[in-house]
Symmetry: D2
Subunit: 389 residues, 4 copies
């Protein structure tokens, strides 16, 4: 019998002061296919209780720890227990709850990067493969419809053979030293014990690489990094530029900074092939510029009613052209695709191909490998560092 | 005791093929404060059933008509019945269900324009006042944080005395004749029995006027309209331009078209005072341009972490600057403000002033009066037609 | 024998403090086809002498008045005397020197508007026709290559039948009262004796109408104007909006203001036909946006090497795409086209059709008629005022 | 006695098919301070004759070679002979005519890059110093008023200490193999004998470096280059990315490509300091974006009437704000500043400091050194290559 119901979600992390927890909840809520029914929102049980109450959860399902959540949810009847967990903790608390969730039979949505270290990522990857459960890593930006369109334009040959990829993610929010009291994010994201071996490169460099590989369809082959720790008192990189060589010979550059004073979050990608080029940036997220030589530039526009868009773009759009969708909708696209795929899986039906297009374990592994390699390259006197999983 | 729970919503209309129904549901879902628990989604009971099932509603609360919904919901225990209805039907089915909802004690969110005729609007207005229930009319665009910021910049004197208002809403979707089979919207929106005496002016001209009055703080005093029915076979205006005079002497113009071939939905407003001017457009919704003479232009940017923004903008923002929010978030802002105000009302507490900033019955009345006046002016040989409620 | 030489220009007006005189000289200089050899730069002989010396003129050809210039130049041998005059005086000093120049056998480039009154314009028009001499009126904006491209897209049917024209010219420089000492422009341009019956509408409204008629190929049929004199102490309009009806039924609006605080000179036109729409604005002068329904938007780009552009755009471009040209090049295009046509005329050869595309007496007459009609309509209680030459 | 006259210019190169020759002539003409009176326009005497005639030169001053020009001009009376030469030949014909011009007492304007090799540049530099004559190297982009404003904002401390420089120059015109018949530029610019050891890096990479050093006030210290020859059959780089380290510790990146398919000439620079950041791009050349953290972004606008601009920006602007100036005006600014300085020198007066702000021998030397180093680094396995003159 068809399992026609909302999926039940439990959340780990995302208590008071968490930016990304709130984003995950909005993304999960938006399309009415998921309901938050349980949570362990903080390592501090009081904070978890406060968060759960604010989120209208039943008291019995606000947990003091994720261990408790797994144990008690598992004990609930099948038609009540959570289907999956959403894990939105700092990086150093990714591995343990994810592994436990999977081993207890819960599917997982995990905030990026996958883990604290590449070693953990490889181990987690094995668990994912062994359990066969569904895993989604929220590399937000590949959820944008025009990013999906860009990928299709590359894969359908509109751009020809890809020669060059420019990707950049300039932020300015760490332009000065910020204490953890002032900004919870600034605290853990600049602390190697909680963030991992990279700062800026782990936080946003991984997004940029993921976007570059997703759109271009290319795989990184080697890299040359110049990483900087601009402000004294910091231990991790807050800025860097990475030369890229892809398998097959295309080249590129990845620019990421958290000290680009005044910059917000204008992630941008440009891809050039031997037939055409394209350009997308988050600040104008609903447009995709395509440049064919000797022809007028084209502006592809996101919109539910746009006949020339690919099925991938259309499946990730909610409003007519000109009514802008944004970051939260991109995030929600990953949740909706994950939820649709999971529902199909639970029902034993075949998911549509567009639903399967959400970031998963391979993206996670590559991201963690990128972090390791980029730090190593940053310390090397040699120009090129080979990238290998 | 504090009533800490999600608000329960019933929906009227929004069945298969409805664009705006889906938008209302996303807007209601987004912030996790409202849950859809009942609905009469179509005048066709089968379609209502299909819609309800797709939305995961309990069978017992999918109704064949709104009359049935009101009756049965009213009979439910107080802690189960819906708190409010969201009415998303075509214009000719606004008055009846809204009046009945109110008379049965349910608060109402209603899609704009308020009613089919100005007469209905006045009558509805009386019912709203008599029942004292909460009423929200979803003039979407005043939900944008930077529109709220614009209003604050006018009201706090940054622009000085307002001299001039330009507002425009160019659409192109009715550039050719479209049958109702092809596009359900094109059907009822061009049919006077379901749409009212105006086409373009009712559909989007009212949005433009609402935006102009909201931002400028001015009230329309007289107008001069040139309305056009561009395509043969149509009975309503599909295009028009309206000269505006506001109380106090400022002037302006309102441009609206549905035959601006190739245009999407780039609603735009410019307001000029004797100290400074401002400019906002939906296509770049997260920016607000402020121009002071003899100084660099300023770009105000939406964002949860932006220290210079007013409390009104900040209360209607979810993401840090540079992570774009869009149309659905603007829509959700009205729902969230309505929900917060309603929760306060249910709890007997005072709502914060920012929550009360959602469009209500006065906006609705003025919009319906605008439709009447603009059609009358369009037919007049006299230049100016006095605007009065 | 072919007359292969630079054309010799005399200038009337353009002395110290003149903005537009300097612009005319740059425009005439730019392409090396014209040389300034004589001038009567001011009604004040001392100022004329200073200006002439600064411009490296031979003393013998710096004149105390234009009457003196005509007399003495006429007495020079044919291979020395000026070929044409460039008249850049305030509006009330357009008619007399232009008529005299023509009657003395000199071709004329004249700054717009053509004359102080419509009566003068009609009379001048007769003189132009009688003398058969070449006359160019510098409506700058039709000199932009992408404006020419826009005209071609309309005339070659790309847009289909034109339905709608939006044209706007918002300026802010008269946002406050400015004395003539502070700003020479502000002085005469707000003085009816020197500027004519209209202020804003004469100064920039005529540019907007000219652009609208040029691009759309339509002729104004009737209009309805709301003119405002915003600042007390002024006698002429400093702001206005005009509803437009064109012959054949298309409609439009013309917005012009000099009190749009903070606005610069972003003249903008949008034209919508039953097949496509287009958009051009001075602020992004090298782009022309073309919108076909159900296709990606197109950005046509100015550039000497752009294969898809019309011969009209290409003949008015100097640099490769992406090296922006601007206002001075648009101005220079009129001079160059005038010069090329005049050289052909002097040589008895046929000018190319692209060279003939500069504004002339019909543009001037229509502009002056527009000023008369727009002022009359502004004072009328009737909605529509018929436009007739 | 004051020497109040136009400067007399001779041109070397710039015959039929030359893009940059025409640009130099427009730039020299524009402000009416320079007159072209002589030229050796091609190594082919017939072509030189044709070009000279088209430019209205006196037959006696159209030369068959630059050697002839120097000899004959030198023999003319002082009040007739050229003051300076403008040299617009391909790179391999820079050194010889420049040295000879100087040794014959003529000042020089030279198109960039300075010479074919760094060795030549050093030798030329000595000649310049020995002769004490004026030398201008036309690095066009530092002639833009908003680039000058950017430099001032850095040097006056508005940005604080500079941390990061991003500079990019993406072109697409060499996206496919183009024969010399099709495009004269494509011929010599991809030929090492005429272009030098670098292709893309010499042609536009040098512009980018010059812009970066000019605006930031920083000097390059070491670099790490990834150069590519994308199309088979080419011998020089057509693309590359260079990591930059500046003296004092700031870092940056320089991206240049001629195979960025569809790209035009959107040279762009971003500079970030510890107080603010700025951004300028040629496509929107009249705007300069300044970003202060926690304040609205600012848009500085070029314009002759803009009170907040520095004297450097104002001295290089001709039109009021909103009337765009472009590439040709930027180019003309170098000519005008050179001409003003030269006139002062001839008159024995002190030039104003703003006039001296044109690119000269140091820019040329550094550019040639950059070419040498970038090619060397491109071939090295070591990450960093020290940059030294």
């Amino acid at each position: 019998m068809m399992n026609h119901r909302k999926l039940r979600m439990g959340m780990i992390g995302g208590g008071p002061g968490s930016f990304i927890g709130a984003v995950h909840r909005i993304a999960a809520n938006m399309d009415g296919q998921i309901e938050l029914v349980a949570g362990a929102f903080s390592s501090n049980p009081e904070k978890s209780a406060i968060a759960g109450a604010e989120l209208f959860l039943d008291n019995s399902r606000i947990y003091q720890s994720y261990d408790e959540m797994f144990e008690k949810e598992k004990a609930l009847p099948k038609d009540q227990r959570i289907d999956f967990v959403s894990i939105v903790t700092p990086n150093h608390v990714h591995f343990d709850p994810t592994v436990k969730a999977l081993k207890n039979g819960f599917h997982v949505v995990l905030d990026k990067p996958m883990t604290l270290t590449y070693e953990e990522a490889k181990e987690l990857n094995k668990v994912i493969e062994e359990t066969g459960l569904l895993f989604c890593l929220t590399h937000t930006y590949t959820g944008y419809p025009m990013v999906k369109e860009a990928k299709q334009l590359v894969s359908n040959g509109t751009l020809g053979n890809i020669r060059k990829v420019y990707v950049e993610y300039p932020q300015g929010w760490l332009w000065k030293n910020v204490s953890e009291e002032e900004n919870k994010q600034a605290g853990w994201r600049t602390d190697p014990k909680r963030s991992g071996v990279a700062g800026c490169m782990g936080d946003i460099g991984t997004h940029a690489l993921n976007l570059a590989e997703y759109v271009s369809g290319l795989k990184l082959d080697k890299l040359c990094a110049d990483l900087n720790t601009t402000l004294s008192g910091r231990t991790l990189d807050d800025d860097g530029i990475v030369l890229l060589k892809f398998e097959g010979g295309a080249s590129g550059v990845l620019m990421a900074s958290q000290v680009a004073t005044g910059a917000e979050n204008n992630l941008k990608i440009r891809v050039y092939g031997d037939k055409a080029g394209l350009e997308w940036q988050q600040e104008d997220a609903n447009s995709l510029i395509v440049r064919h030589p000797e022809q007028p530039d084209q502006i592809y526009r996101a919109g539910a009613n746009v006949p020339y868009l690919s099925s991938y773009a259309l499946a990730n759009t909610r409003t007519p052209a000109g009514h802008p969708e944004g970051y939260l909708e991109a995030f929600a696209n990953h949740y909706r695709n994950f939820a649709r795929t999971l529902t199909a899986k639970l029902n034993g039906t075949e998911p549509e191909k567009e639903w399967l297009d959400f970031p998963s374990t391979e993206d996670g592994l590559r991201g963690m490998a990128f972090i390791e390699h980029v730090v190593k390259s940053g310390q090397s006197e040699q120009k090129w560092t080979k990238f290998k999983l």
